[in-house]
């Protein structure tokens, strides 16, 4: 079976690339071995929050000039990076995903109450222009009774440092409490599913009004908007005061919703999704991939003119490691990684970890190589790339989106 482009991977980068190509009329196949890291997303995308030397970044598109030449943003050209970054909001809006962002990094609350920078915020994430911004002076922090994956105490402590007085309450509704009769499944996503029902949301809002005293701001966990953002908008309107949503432990409601919406946009544009299958190898001839093989289809090859590798980092199995080495497991591509296991990690869990920066080697057009030989119809995109310490820099989503757009354009140009 032949496609114009086959994309290996099903996360943010793969879907961005696939949607762009499919919308341009290309016959695209996405092969994804399971759900992606989007499922744990914080409700926001980062472009660049910190430079490799530790300098904090206010204006990411200015700061990229200071990145080393090995960084994907610099590899594809600073102007290209700026152009793609500027088009991102519109791109996602076309997929039904509305994002907020400016040329300056915004601030969002994490679930421990600490603020972090972000580039684009999803609708469930309240983002601030300055970290000193205050929505109000008295916060009502509300959670669902029995929900263990959100920490009102942590949030309150942080807000109180800013001079915002806080009161923590939990709401008990029969329908929600039902979830708790299962010992493990009162998770953000399952609550959000229950909250899809108008009736339950109404009772929840009623409870909020009942317990509200003189508070002028409301803080809620990200437990609204399972299928779309309808429930989220509804809550925002109904509570009658400004709401700040804060991320929960995984799985992430905004992340999973975004993943679903991107998949829908891809299929709506004519793309084909193969979920739960895994590319096991490729036929490479004359420096080009002819076809790829998957575990479901066995020896039946899937052919395409171009291929995109957007398999993610270790979690997504874009990179793999064993006792002795780090390697690219799908096609056996060349990688940038230390050969000494001791150098993969820092001694502190919270320090920057070298292994997160490892990835496949590419030229400036994002063509990876195998045994030193570039593969001319293959592009790598997203966190499988080397050169970005995504977690430390806060560049995970930015690299995923921007390199995917670049790869798609290269394919369209070609």
């Amino acid at each position: 079976m032949k496609f114009d482009t086959i994309i290996i991977g099903g996360g943010l980068s793969a879907l961005t690339c696939g949607i762009k190509l499919a919308k341009a009329g290309r016959d695209c196949l996405i092969i994804a071995s399971g759900e992606s890291a989007l499922s744990f997303n914080s409700g926001s995308f980062g472009l660049l929050s910190r430079l490799p030397d530790g300098t904090a970044v206010e204006e990411p598109l200015k700061a990229i000039e200071q990145l080393p030449s090995s960084h994907p943003y610099v590899k594809i050209g600073i102007d290209n990076t700026r152009r793609y970054a500027a088009s991102a909001k519109e791109f996602f809006a076309d997929c039904g995903i509305s994002l907020r962002g400016t040329e300056r990094n915004l601030w969002r609350y994490t679930s421990s109450g600490k603020m972090k920078r972000c580039w684009l915020a999803m609708e469930d994430t309240t983002a601030f222009v300055s970290r000193e911004d205050k929505v109000g002076d008295k916060a009502l922090i509300v959670t669902v009774k029995g929900f263990q994956d959100f920490f009102p105490g942590f949030v309150a402590e942080s807000l109180e440092k800013k001079g915002i007085s806080c009161r923590c309450e939990s709401i008990e509704l029969d329908e929600l409490d039902m979830l708790r009769s299962n010992a493990s499944e009162m998770r953000a996503t399952n609550i959000a599913l229950t909250m899809e029902k108008d009736k339950i949301r109404k009772s929840f809002v009623k409870e909020i009004s009942r317990i509200r005293q003189d508070e002028d701001m409301l803080i809620l966990p990200q437990i609204f908007g399972y299928e779309d953002t309808r429930a989220l908008e509804d809550i925002r309107k109904a509570v009658g005061m400004p709401v700040t949503f804060i991320s929960t432990l995984m799985p992430s409601v905004p992340g999973i919703r975004t993943q679903k919406m991107l998949k829908k946009a891809f299929e709506a544009a004519g793309g084909t999704l193969m979920m739960g299958d895994c590319v096991t190898g490729a036929v490479i001839e004359g420096g080009k991939i002819k076809s790829v093989l998957t575990s479901n289809l066995g020896s039946y090859g899937l052919e395409a003119d171009n291929f995109v590798l957007a398999t993610g980092s270790f979690f997504g199995k874009g990179l793999a490691s064993d006792f002795t080495k780090i390697y690219e497991p799908v096609l056996g591509l060349d990688v940038d990684a230390s050969e000494k296991r001791d150098e993969w990690y820092s001694s502190s869990f919270f320090d920057r970890q070298a292994f997160i920066g490892f990835g496949v080697k590419t030229d400036n057009d994002l063509h990876p190589s195998r045994d030193g030989e570039a593969i001319s119809n293959l592009y790598a995109a997203g966190s499988v790339l080397s050169g970005a310490e995504s977690l430390y820099e806060g560049s995970g989503a930015g690299v995923a989106i921007i390199t995917a757009m670049y790869a798609a354009d290269k394919i369209l140009e070609g």
Partner: protein, 417 residues
């Protein structure tokens, strides 16, 4: 090559590849409607660590798993979650199947008893009083529409009507028809034979075909399932000895014979695994390679909504159906959102599961109603029962859709058949 130290992480059904990401819990159709089920993470890899210590830690509520395998499709770690759950039911559960489960699981036995009396059985199972008895005594839900038993078994029809001419074809395949085609819906088998013959391919049945075993596995009758599986493997081996393939029209039989035989029943099926091919894939590949040609009827028009059955999703073969159906001029194929219909074989027949089953399927039914197609395209027979019972739409197997859209005489000529 021998595995080097820590090069791979091997454990039963990839239990240890789980990194506790919780993604499976967000896509489990049972969890969405029910809190009794402990969920794929707890029932699967989490629970298994405790069960390995002692069967004392077996939670019998893991039986509410539908075995739809959606958890496995979304798992980023390759954990065979549903296989862990179903293997645990055999290893740690003490189950003596209830009469009801025995009856539901014996799709073959019941079929061969019922078929000669089809009109009577169909009438009786449709009667209020009978349903009342089934419901109260057997705990088979009274709201459930029973699949009709056909008067003539597919095998009987085949021997009489089709078998004599198959010798005229040089290229041959064997057909694993499954209990459903044999007892409940021989038309699908007939469509298959007509289509294959038109494409220039002769069809034989296996020397011995037994129920693939899926209903037995889900009702805990592992030993019977194993006995039948061994017979099927041996028959298929024999059929494949001349290099031919064994084609199927049922997704679940296919998945069971290819994956569950080794993963749940612990049987070695390597000799036949690759030779079992879903008909739709086989046909696509033949056309692709130019080994056969196809001509469609002029003026065929249809708007079909394609529901990918869970097991089709798991096997990743829906691309073949899509490509094939899109070849039909005049076919408008609408993709339905990926959802489970809720029946999961015999699961939805059990009284304790009926409400859950219908609740799970609701999203799909709503989706179908919103699309309002001419009919639903779907490869799975139990999805067909469920959708036809729960909506006003007919469900057709893609093989039947093709047989309907193809100009048989023209195609025969193209293939010199």
């Amino acid at each position: 090559m021998e595995t080097k130290m820590q090069e791979k992480n091997i454990s039963a059904n990839e239990l240890e590849q789980c990194v506790k990401c919780t993604v499976c819990t967000a896509y489990c159709p049972v969890l969405k409607v029910s809190v009794i089920y402990p969920g794929p993470k707890q029932s699967g890899p989490d629970g298994e660590r405790y069960r390995l210590k002692s069967s004392l830690f077996m939670d019998n509520n893991i039986k509410y798993c539908l075995n739809c395998k959606r958890c496995e499709v979304v798992c980023p770690s390759g954990v065979k979650i549903a296989d862990i759950i179903h293997s645990a039911r055999e290893t740690y559960g003490r189950q003596i199947p209830k009469v009801r489960d025995f009856i539901l699981a014996s799709t073959d036995l019941m079929g061969s008893v019922a078929s000669p009396f089809a009109p009577v059985v169909n009438a009786v199972t449709g009667l209020g009083a009978t349903k009342f008895v089934l419901d109260k005594v057997m705990a088979i839900d009274h709201r459930r529409t029973f699949p009709k038993y056909s008067g003539t078994k597919f095998e009987t029809w085949f021997r009489k009507e089709a078998a004599p001419v198959q010798g005229t074809f040089k290229k041959r395949v064997s057909y694993f028809h499954g209990c459903y085609v044999n007892y409940n819906y021989p038309q699908l088998g007939k469509d298959f034979v007509t289509l294959m013959n038109a494409l220039g391919v002769g069809v034989d049945l296996l020397e011995k075909e037994r129920c693939c075993g899926v209903a037995k596995i889900s009702s805990g009758m592992f030993d019977t399932a194993r006995k039948h599986a061994r017979i099927n493997i041996a028959s298929m081996e024999k059929a494949m000895s001349d290099g031919r393939k064994v084609l199927t029209t049922s997704t679940t039989c296919t998945l069971t014979m290819k994956d569950e035989y080794p993963d749940i029943l612990g049987l070695d099926n390597t000799s036949v695994k690759d030779g079992i091919v879903l008909a739709i894939r086989y046909i696509y590949e033949m056309l692709e390679k130019g080994e056969a040609k196809i001509a469609f009827k002029e003026g065929y028009r249809a708007r079909a909504a394609y529901h990918v059955p869970c097991h089709m999703e798991k096997m990743g073969l829906s691309i073949f159906t899509r490509k094939l159906l899109k070849m039909i001029p005049g076919m408008e194929l609408v993709s339905l959102d990926s959802n489970c219909c809720g029946i999961a074989g015999t699961y939805g027949f059990k009284k304790e599961n009926y409400a859950r089953s219908q609740a799970i399927g609701k999203a799909l039914f709503d989706n179908i109603n919103a699309v309002n197609p001419d009919f639903v395209a779907c490869e799975c027979e139990t999805c067909k029962w469920q959708i036809e019972m729960s909506t006003a739409y007919k469900v057709k197997n893609p093989v039947s859709i093709l047989a309907e859209a193809v100009d048989i005489e023209k195609t025969k000529k193209l293939n010199n058949a």
